[in-house]
Symmetry: none
Subunit: 166 residues, 2 copies
Amino acid sequence: MSAARAVRVAVGGTFQPLHDGHKLLLRTAYEIDGDVDIGLTSDEMARSARIRDVEPYAVRERRLREWIENKLGKRPNVMKLEDPYGTALTEDYDYIVVSPETFPVAVKINELRKEKGRKPIAIVRVDYVLAEDGKPISSTRIAGGEIDTHGNLLRKDEHEGSGRDQ
Amino acid sequence: MSAARAVRVAVGGTFQPLHDGHKLLLRTAYEIDGDVDIGLTSDEMARSARIRDVEPYAVRERRLREWIENKLGKRPNVMKLEDPYGTALTEDYDYIVVSPETFPVAVKINELRKEKGRKPIAIVRVDYVLAEDGKPISSTRIAGGEIDTHGNLLRKDEHEGSGRDQ
């Protein structure tokens, strides 16, 4: 680094249930070795985008904190997101870490920053983590009882020959 | 995009032996639908980082070209890398596609670009492709005779119960 200023990293999501895709996203954000700000969607925001139920902010925040503290050994800095952009429009982050699903949001953020004469943020697009069937792990699939948080198929009887052991 | 300028994509490596991890990297780069520049390490650079033997640049380039032309139906633009950064410090790429192994190089590239007042490049971090045993496919493991380029275990007798069918 040329200046003493720490590298700043932004990452965001609803993080429920916390699955292997989220974990890769978070690991990658902390791998950059900077100050990571985690935007966690408010209940209003999380629920407006989904039909399925979403646990309250406080519950999601606690689980997220516990995982980061226990598995990554970091003290997370979690902030509430009331819109898809959060502080990414106004703060000079160096990196924003996104999934393929939220990659367009990061592109939009840079477009809006440009309009305001702000520098673009380097986007880090982390790949999907694939479930046992080769399709991405997603919260929707987990909530639907199709797979667990690690991508194991749960309805073995309906998917003949789809198990990892076959 | 606001201008008519084509999207520019950078990807790089030694690409020997060309394995499923490299193929995912290349597929992802071309999936972005822009002009892809492939940096291929010079013999000096490739050999300085490895104990094992590396085939000459011309051989690696030919194999890389053949695979891209035959499998992706694209005309590859291959350029020699004499250092880990190549043209990524001076050219305004929109994307750089990397593996988890080379992710820190992309972070470093953006750091160096920033020092020169250049815009950051969006990093697309493609995950490892896993071998049959759940560990990443790597050129080192292939060169060591442990797995083939698709990640199949080759020393079945030494790894009891490690096959996909067990």
